[in-house]
């Protein structure tokens, strides 16, 4: 189980629990459930890499407690 912090720097900061074999899409859905924004509008980024929906967290080497940047499409 991981806990990831997602922050758009506009006032939404969410900590999401998820499995390492979840895809980014799943994570987005979880985030959407917490924040209330539609999941397909969320863009997750770390520096300049935009995470793609169909790839797992473990493949991106997203670990527990990592911060992801959240943007909106």
């Amino acid at each position: 189980m991981l806990e990831i912090t997602c922050n758009d720097r506009l006032g939404k900061k969410v900590r999401v629990k998820c499995n390492p074999d979840d895809t980014i899409g799943d994570l987005k859905k979880l985030i959407a459930a917490q924040t209330g924004t539609r999941y397909d509008k969320i863009v997750l980024k770390k520096w300049y890499t935009i995470y793609k929906d169909n790839i797992r967290l473990s493949d991106y080497e997203i670990h527990d407690g990592m911060n992801l940047e959240m943007y909106y499409q």
Binding site: M1, V14, K17, K29, T35, M66
Partner: protein
Amino acid sequence: MGKEKKHKRDKDLSSRRRSRSRSRSRSEEYKEKKRSKKNREKDRERKHRRRSSDREKSYHSDSSDVVEVPIIPDPPVISSSFRNEPTPSKTSKQRKKSLSPIPADGAGDVLSIEETNKLRAKLGLKPLEVGSSEVPQSSSSGSKKEEEKDKDGNSQELKKIKDDWGEFYHKPAGQFNEKTEVELLREKIQSKREKRKIEDKLARIKTLGESDSDDDANAWVDKSRKIEEEKKKAQLRAKMLQEMDENLDNVTTTHARRPARPQKSSQLSKDQGYGSKDLQGLKVAHDIDSFKEERQVILTLEDKDVLDEDGDTLMNVNMKDDERYKKNVEVKKQNPQHYGYDVYEDQYDEFGNFIGRGILSKYDEEIDGSKKPTFTIGESKDLIQEQQRKALEVKAKLENKRLETLNLDPLKIASDCFTEEELTKFKKPKKKVKKIRQKLKADDLLEIAGDSSSNKDLGSRKRKDDDELKKVVLNIDDLPELPEDTSNIKIEPEDDELEHILSKARRLKQKEIIKKELPVDNIKTEVKMETEDSEGEAEIRANNFITLNQTAEFCRTLGDIPTYGMAGNRDENTDMMDLEDEVEEQEPSMDKRGKWNTVDPNEEPKLAEGVPIVEPEDVAILDEEPDIGAGVANALKLAMSKGYLEKEETNRPSNSRFAHLQAQHYSIDDKAHGEDDKYGRRGGGGGGYNGPLSEFREKAGYKPNVKLEYIDDNNMKLTPKEAFRYLSHKFHGKGPGKNKIEKRLKKLEQEGLMKKMSSSDTPLNTLTMLQQKQKETQSPFIVLSGNKSSQSTMLGKNKR
């Protein structure tokens, strides 16, 4: 730590408040105190909450590398968010109810595992893996420990790090010991399993000791007896065979020695000693040269296939190693970049003979196997050496070398007389029959012509009879004329030499006589002597009247004049002073150039009929110098010849201004043509205009000497700059300004004056005026005065 700090901060705040309150009235102060008390109480509450929240944090954090701890203190928003945080621990249920997981503003943070699981179920995802939840439990205990530590006031193990995303702790490295222990155990188990497997395998196989069936003594005894019997039988058989062999040997009476077999030799060794006889016929696998004399080399039998039928070979291990080493060196010497067939690479053996090779001969050894030099002991070494010597001789013959033996003939007593043998060998050296190169002359050709067609009279030279001519030639030249039939006459070089010298002497005498007769002044002689003049000739030279003037000497230093004698009017055979050319009868005239020329002053001029041949001695190298004293004309001539005066041959730039001075017939072709053209046009188109009819011809050697000069209206020469200005004025139709014109005129005037000015006087001729004045006054001075009064004073001064 952080908490302590917070404590201090609060205290500071309260103290500030107190300090502020001091300034106020006492009543107010009292109120303030009450407030501060309240504040303290609030603070305490806050602390409690924070502690609990901290617990939560640490609980969550420990499973991860990095633990996010929201910045706790001043900004109240975040602190409020803390309050909203639901705790997944035992207290979470109470919190959940009170605080909604997703607040209205969306700042809500965390859902508990159960909540997320519910959410996940809704989304169609599998529940969170709480298998790893053991770790958080353990970590929670760790966090408890930390709290205890905090209480103790010890420094925290976790380092707090501030970042853009908040403060977090670094998780300490996990305990590797436990992991390694587990792994070690696993490895142990694995290895034991494998061991067991191997043992099982081995257990099935019988060992050597077990396989022996003869456990009991009787069986063993039987076996050993059988073996003994077999051995005996074999010995008997061997004996039989040997006897048969010997019989066969006796019958066939072999003179050829069979290669000694080890078996046989071993038997022989029993009977007699193993001598050198026994070694005969053995092959040695080394070159015979590798065995040095008077050195012991121990040879051993070479390892060999058991079934090999060839005779035994002997070898020395050390020598074999040496050979291998040598071969390796050879291989190393080869250029690794040279492979393939090199056409141009020539190979020579040690005697320098060319070795023909096949294509890619370098691989021959690898394909065919290396040829090793061997020899058999039976063959005599002398024989081999003899063969080698013969081979060497053949090679030497092929190479045109002579082999010298070091065995010299026995010394003899030297004698002046020939022995009989020598006499038979002795021959008188043959005299060389001189081949006389016949110089082909025009006369000879004529003769041939005369022979073919009946004798004709052709010119003056022909008039001389052939015999006469021959004589003359013999006398004057050193050339003995070839007679018609050379077979009859034998010319001996000694005689020829003699004649040559005699003729020379004769000629010298003649010369002397003539010299006396001739007036020396008239003849300009250049007698160039050979450096190797004989003494007699030197004397003669001393007697001779040879005038050497400066010009002659100068010319001598210049060397030969290249054109001298080229015209063919000089006799080629005049080099009478040569003593060198005794053997070479006639030096070709090629040598003449670049050497001293000899001119025979006494030679009779050959006169052709009517045509005066210029005598060589009369043609001086320089023209006769005209006498300067005689007149101006002569002086001028001399000056001209010396180059003091220039002849006016050189082309001067054609200047239109001097056109009237030029020769009237002189015209540049092109120009004339152009003019013609013009006239033709003026004349009405007929005339000299032949435009398209005449082709344009390139004039080959035409190099006009053109000099562009510009002239202004006053016929003054212009510099290029001025010319440009003039042109541009004309082009623009706008002349220079008045001032410019005046300036230019002034300049011109001054230039004119400068030109007129005498070099010894001022432009106003003051000097001449001064001189005139001085003449008038007849005084060495002149009085400079502005007016008469001053003049008088000056006069007065003069008088004084």
